[in-house]
Symmetry: D2
């Protein structure tokens, strides 16, 4: 029996999820809703599914709810879906405010259906194989994690203005990936940043280039570097260094053509351009994993708790950036 999915939010990421759902053999796109009618209509027409007049109506008509609306509405919709007893897949972040997330957590206490947060990178085959190499003991005791994560180009001013800042919008993926790899909570966070790409970002009290160091209780170290604009493309690397070896999950290209000229050798193609291309498999595998959880009523690989903990790291990073010190995560979660 196909799982009926209600898609809330029909923007860029919503459309991508719609296409992934449609390709799945276990789910159907039952209904869509978007406060902007045109957006919902377009998806409804293209994929031949129903269109609800409200989020509530969409939720009611579904087995599971996929929340891809603007961040500010995520918590309300999670609560509404939970109240209706529907499984939830919610895009990251749950909210920009740790307080709101904590309140949401309390509001849905006792809810026993799966809630998965959209940390797609956990499902990327390369990143997952890296994690598995750690879990299997292949790299020995994990000592250092290095995450390089750079976008191919600066997002629009409109997007950035409501993004919540680089740590909650962009680095949050890396915070989650770090936790996934470390298998241990970071307890201290240092973060700094600069406006090297667009100096006017300072007006938004935001930065476009960041470097982070985190430390776990047992002393494991993790570095993250971010840039909003890598001209050579979307750069997504994870390096795991341990007592018995190292694994690196590298970038992907559309194909393996190499060029050799009078001045160069082994010239490779550009990297897959952005998250929808680079993490296409990850999105599909993440949805499959969610559907399995829905079918079997088990706990997803990226939980509400993961969403909350990554946000706490982002909050700690903001505090560190402001105060120039190694911030204890407990300071922001008390």
């Amino acid at each position: 029996m196909m799982i009926k999915i209600a898609l809330l939010g029909c923007g860029r990421i919503g459309k991508m999820h719609a296409a992934t759902i449609v390709r799945s053999s276990r789910a159907e796109l039952a209904v869509v809703y978007d406060p902007v009618d045109n957006a919902a209509e377009e998806v409804s027409r293209h994929f031949g599914c129903a269109m609800a007049k409200s989020a509530e109506e969409a939720i009611a008509a579904s087995d599971a709810v996929l929340i891809a609306t603007s961040t500010a509405t995520h918590s309300d919709l999670i609560e509404a879906a939970a109240k209706a007893g529907k499984a939830v897949f919610c895009e990251k972040p749950i909210d920009l405010s740790l307080e709101r997330v904590a309140a949401c957590r309390k509001a849905i206490a006792g809810f026993d259906r799966p809630i998965q947060i959209g940390f797609n990178r956990r499902f990327d085959p390369g990143h997952r194989a890296a994690r598995d190499a750690v879990r299997s003991g292949e790299v020995g005791e994990l000592q250092q994690v290095i995450i390089t994560s750079r976008d191919p180009g600066l997002a629009s001013r409109e997007y950035l203005a409501v993004s919540g800042g680089i740590f909650k919008d962009m680095t949050i993926h890396d915070f989650d990936l770090a936790r996934f790899m470390l298998a241990e909570e970071p307890v201290e966070v240092f973060a700094t940043g600069s406006t090297l790409i667009d100096p006017t970002l300072a007006q938004l009290n935001d930065v476009d280039s960041t470097m982070v160091i985190m430390r776990t209780a047992s002393g494991k170290l993790c570095h993250i570097n971010n840039s909003r604009a890598a001209v050579y493309g979307y750069d997504q690397r994870v390096e795991l260094f341990g007592s018995k070896g190292m694994v690196i999950s590298g970038n992907r290209k559309a194909h393996e053509l190499e060029r050799f000229t009078a001045r160069t050798t082994g010239v490779g193609e550009p990297y897959l351009n952005f998250f929808i291309e680079r993490y296409e498999e990850a999105f599909a595998l993440g949805l499959q994993s969610f559907l399995k959880c829905v079918e079997e009523n088990t706990v997803p690989d990226a939980t509400f708790d993961d969403g909350e903990k990554s946000l706490a790291l982002a909050e700690a990073a903001n505090l560190s950036l402001a105060e120039g010190r190694f911030v204890k995560v407990a300071e922001v979660t008390r």
Copy 2:
């Protein structure tokens, strides 16, 4: 309007084509036929399409016919589809006999709908980018083509016994790829081979390891090497060497994880295992290209003529292997 496709032949490759058709937004799998009822039933049930009692019935119910039956039936079915005025996508080779192919060509003379032969590799993004680099002048005058093509393991005895020998079964893909890259007909062929993997193949008058050299009228040189069993996986490389540079279309892996141990560095994952995985994109792009030709009634990228010419190269290779000399292709096509 969706193009209705009749799938003839529901074996391994037929099933793969069925899945590709179903994923396409321009075609529908209208009907399937297989002399073995069970095979057709399985595909019919899985993809929810009709099941014909005969090839003729299937052809009649379609806009285009995809022939994935055993090689011996290809020509008859091409003729039947052509007679019915339906576009044709036929798996390689058209037939094991050049005479039969020539007869088929005459039988369908004047047929004005697209016929595409299943030379999937032409549609592989890497190989195509390599060809484009030649066409654009990037490598200058093309001088040498080197094709490495090795299967991950020996096929079954049953398969090999009716395969027509390595040149018509396996190398034929490389002969076609060579022609695609050279953009000029090879006029001479030298081929040799050995039974290094399974000595009993000599009983089938076949070899499992081959090396070929071809030369075009203008002197361009092309080398092909084949093995029926590369333990490290399906090895598919194309190197194009010219006066201004070189391009190499290399192997693909499931992801880009590299491992570093006490004794090794940069250890990569195995290659995608076999043609269905390695050329998944190529099969999809090849079908899309065919559908476009059907819609616009244009000439496909891999024509009946391409099928015939590659078979002639295979025939010349057989003669060369037998006589130990550089065989003129004209000797076998007269």
Copy 3:
């Protein structure tokens, strides 16, 4: 005319310098001195050069002095050589104490012969090409520098006990390399570390695994990670990321053999094992550069000032590690 060199210090690094001098066509190893007679005798016999009874005697018999003694003696010997008017090549660090280095600087004020500090990595062809790519504008505005620097195995307890700690002993090379690449002074330093390899290092108040972030006045960001023990070998990578592109200077292997097995592809050889192998060319080029400066009385590429500034960064790192905050370099240099 050959430049007569006095080698002070005949330990592992001294012997390596002796061999480099002997291979040079512009210099001769005139005389050696080591407080341990046996060590000096061995080098003297092996290379057929004179052996002095004191550092002063060796200095007097030379055109230039190469100081490869224990760190504690560096400043005294620099002062002695300067007093004698001889050019100086001194191994890093100048001293473990910033005060002593400042005093040395004052003591040799007005000295007008070349003093080069042994920051060999500046002369590595790959690292230098990376730097040149920045200088030429190829990567645009430099925004991020990532230095990975890991030793193949923990040094002896005796060595570590007098090393001055990881930042002054090991990271100092990376601090210098960072300054070389950034072409701008870091103004703030954050450092943390752990004893993940040998917990007993805590007894020495030292760490074996570190991560550092530095920031320049214009906002450029630099990350350094260090480990005392990478089982896969000496890991030396420099990544320079800018507005127009990125360059990465990677690791080197003894040769380019790749292995392919039933489970792996592209398996590479181990990296060159340690600094004497990995930076063999750099040591030779560094010496040549120094000899050119001696001949032409010009300023070396790695000056006394570079030695002092790198030590200041190490001192700031120590303070940051102790206090868990972003330390201004000016705090330690006041």
Copy 4:
């Protein structure tokens, strides 16, 4: 005790050998001779060694003779050195005529000092590691050898006119390398070629682009491709394919810088330009191996017999090119 070497021939390759000898700790360049006085004088002055008036005088003053004169004089000088009882290192080929080589072999019958032929590639660390992987059983039964060997640019007309043709001048290195890898004699040779780089080479009855296939008695297959002009540099690859795996000895670069731009990734440096740079280590290791043989009076790794057998393969290739057939090596050695 240092081995006194007489260098006969002071051209480009002679000078390179002189520099290699001078760097060795086991040999000294005792005396040089060249029919062109200026050439000998230059080397004599530069390396501070004696200069003989005749080859005989040079031979007499030595322990071992290094023959780097023009090919036509090699056999005479080998005979002269053998007569004088001196060990011999002779550049390839021994002679352009198999008859002359056979006569030389008879003339020196019974000579019991080492004779090494200048097949430098056998001593390249990467190629040797590839061979060792075969010998150790790592690749299982060797089945296919693929040698790519392309010069960075066409030699001068003067050089080519006396080179003896591409097979005896250039491919002879690859014939030797093939024998080194196969550990079994090729018994059949097919060769073809074209003038794709300089059509006027046809006037010299020569080609600039070749492809060869050889087969051993047990059925092992070997392909060689050559070009006189690869714009991207000196291309030297050896691929060994067997029942348990594959090894590839690849090209070398001056350093491991990779560049990433708005349109490309992983852009590598050019390959080391030509044989003197690419095989610098191989030349040094080959000389060391020879000196060890001289000291211990053992058989070198590249013998007179190897020189003769590679020439026979070149002769068979010439016959194959002329007659367009798989030539038995026995046809040319009878």
